[in-house]
């Protein structure tokens, strides 16, 4: 018994050391998580000798807020969408990123550089469909809204983000004009009206893994989806296809929640994982575009052609305007919610 008591401090120290050697990295789950594991977590575990604990979420910032407010921060690195990062940075949810330890900012896309985070990949929300069911492929959001030519249900993400833009494009607004129209009162009305038009034909999704499942099961004929999830389904042999025109692309970022005890390790992890080799490897595993210029030079033409940032894919696409959503997102989402729960 006495010996055990003597050992106790050692055990506590050992446990503590173990806790220090673990880094909790939060991602968006599914195929994205699998690719991150192979491209980032495993190599970092090997090189730094620490354990990475992956956690999946759907982007809810409430968990980060709750942790920061109560001072019990157990997440060390969080993948966040641009509008959430920007808001979180202003509101003190995320630490300022120590860029001196990451590398020169000019090595990355300008959009990847943020005071509180670094863009890790370019992704796009696109129109996806099952190519074996639709012989005459849809090409635009106007086709998505055309229930006569393409009868059947459609799936959209259950929020206002992206859907209002899609609705305006379906209503004939050019991608370059979308945010100009959406900034007006009439534009918002127009978007909601157009969305309401499609409502009887809609099935909502919340997790990124759902749209390919719906498409494969035949529940819906078309869906908005993250391009990487469609890519993952294609790799599994599913005959899903993407219409790139009118897709909305954006970056996902890594940020460090304020007050994590592992800030130093988290910064080391980020510096390691945004290196060109790691980013190139990630892009080979899932078709999300690297943000490091040098990573692009490491990819072959076939991989490059699948990325949202490929010239052919980006031609008629829309860049997500996080400033608009950071300002108006709350009002839009609340209105959307009032509408969708009617």
């Amino acid at each position: 018994m006495k010996r055990l008591a003597a050992l106790l401090p050692l055990i506590v120290i050992a446990l503590h050391a173990h806790a220090e050697g673990t880094l909790t990295v939060v991602n968006f789950g599914g195929a994205n998580s699998t690719a991150q594991k192979k491209a980032y977590y495993e190599p970092f575990e090997k090189s730094a000798g620490v354990k990475i604990l992956p956690v999946e979420y759907n982007g809810e910032q409430a968990k980060v807020k709750a942790m920061v407010e109560t001072g019990k921060v157990t997440w060390d690195v969080v993948e966040a969408e641009s509008a959430d990062l920007d808001r979180g940075c202003d509101e003190g949810l995320y630490e300022q990123l120590d860029w001196s330890r990451i590398g020169p900012k000019s090595d990355f896309l300008p959009a990847a550089v943020h005071a509180c985070g670094i863009g890790i990949f370019v992704w796009s929300t696109v129109l996806a469909y099952d190519a074996s069911r639709l012989k005459d492929p849809p090409k635009s959001w106007a086709d998505f809204w055309d229930v006569k030519r393409f009868p059947g249900k459609r799936a959209l993400r259950k929020n206002a983000r992206f859907n209002l833009e899609f609705a305006l494009m379906a209503d004939g607004v050019k991608p370059a004009e979308v945010y100009k129209v959406l900034a007006t009162k009439d534009g918002v009305e127009r978007a909601f009206r157009k969305l309401a038009e499609l409502r009887p034909h809609l099935q909502w999704w919340e997790a990124g893994a759902q749209p390919p499942q719906f498409l494969v099961a035949g529940d819906v004929v078309m869906a908005s989806a993250y391009n990487g999830r469609i890519d993952a389904a294609q790799r599994e042999g599913r005959n899903l296809a993407i219409a790139w025109a009118g897709g909305i692309y954006d970056l996902d970022y890594w940020a460090i929640p304020k007050g994590t005890p592992n800030r130093d390790l988290a910064t080391r992890y980020i510096a390691f994982a945004v290196g060109p080799d790691r980013q190139a490897e990630f892009a080979r595993l899932i078709s999300y575009g690297p943000t490091a210029h040098k990573a692009l030079t490491k990819l072959d033409a076939k991989t490059l052609a699948l990325l949202p940032s490929a010239p052919a894919n980006v031609k008629d696409a829309l860049k997500f305007d996080f400033r608009f959503w950071s300002d108006h997102g709350e009002a839009m989402e609340k209105r959307f919610n009032a509408w969708v729960t009617q």
């Binding site: 409430a62 808001r87 202003d90 509101e91 950071s326 300002d327 709350e330 009002a331 729960t341």
Partner: protein, 412 residues
Amino acid sequence: MEAVADTMADVRVALRRDARHRTATALILVLPLALFLLLTFLVPIGALLWRAVDNPEIARAVPRTVAALARWDAASPPPDQAYAAFVADLQALREQTDAGMLARRLNTEVGGARSLVMNAWRAQPLPAAVDAAAVRAQLIALDPRWEEPWIWQAIAKNGARLTPDYLLASVDLKRAADGSIVTMEADRSAFRRILARTFGIAAIVTAIALVLAYPLAWWLSTMAPRRANVLLIVVLVPFWTSILVRVAAWIVLLQSGGLVNQALRGIGLIDQPLALLFNRTGVVIAMVHILLPFMVLPLYSVMKSIPRDYVRAAVSLGSHPLAAFLRVYVPQTYAGVAAGSLLVFILAIGYYVTPALLGGPEDQMLSYSVAQYANVHLDWGMACALGSVLLAATLVLYAIYRRLARMEPALA
């Protein structure tokens, strides 16, 4: 005689001491539970109610502006002093987080306030100005939106430490700029409808549960105790299973290629699969299943204590058996009916997981909105206000029950 009186006094003292001891022991015994309840139940509810009216951000961040706007009529152009006070307030905000909290709070009032405030904060310190009018010109040069009244109205309206806004919004009301209370625009309001739906679903679930549970409980109460116990366990097994497991099982059963549809198609009752999932039907079926034990148990315990003799006496006095059942037996079970219905109804209005997983957006209840505001919009004031509405509804129901119980002693 005196000795006896002395002894009596001693005994009395001893008795009193003993009683005190017992009270103390009892207090010590319940203390852990009392503390537990205080910490895990009363304090959180207090915090919830507090957050529903708490409005610290603006009063804390821009006190000078609030003071400068105190006399403003909210219609004419804001006074120059307000501009000067606002810039002074912004310069006093050292941390980005402080400005961020202000921007966030104002943005929940009016979209666009976030960038307006953050840009103004980043532009500080502005070059020293001669007077308030010059400061006003500086701000407007920074962003012409500073000339518009809405941002100032939002600041003036929220200058007080406490706000009724969250609670008003949770019943689709709002304060206009002039302070009068008006109904929310039709496309923004949802909560009255959702509240009505919450009560509607809870009422349907309660009614179905009662219809299903009443004969079952009656049948159980007529059985020999040993057999009744075995069957009660069957009733209770779902009660002990995780709610998520049961909901997942319902998804498997109810989906378009699921067991229920296959069976119905197999026996030729339907050609097309019935839509049982992601609509009201699925939600009601699963909720009835989950809540049924809460109806069966109170009914059973009441029925168990009703002697058979009354019904027999009524029949032997010439009553029709059905009339005897309805007029003699059923009234004696009212207490169980009331307790079971109240229990099921109150549990049902707080349901979240089941409608979230089995219902469509049109079937979500008030708890869904609470989760939405807490998790997605990060508007905890609003989430707490909606929670308070739910709490108030429950308390009102309970009060009604108590009132009924007083009028009808059988219910008590």
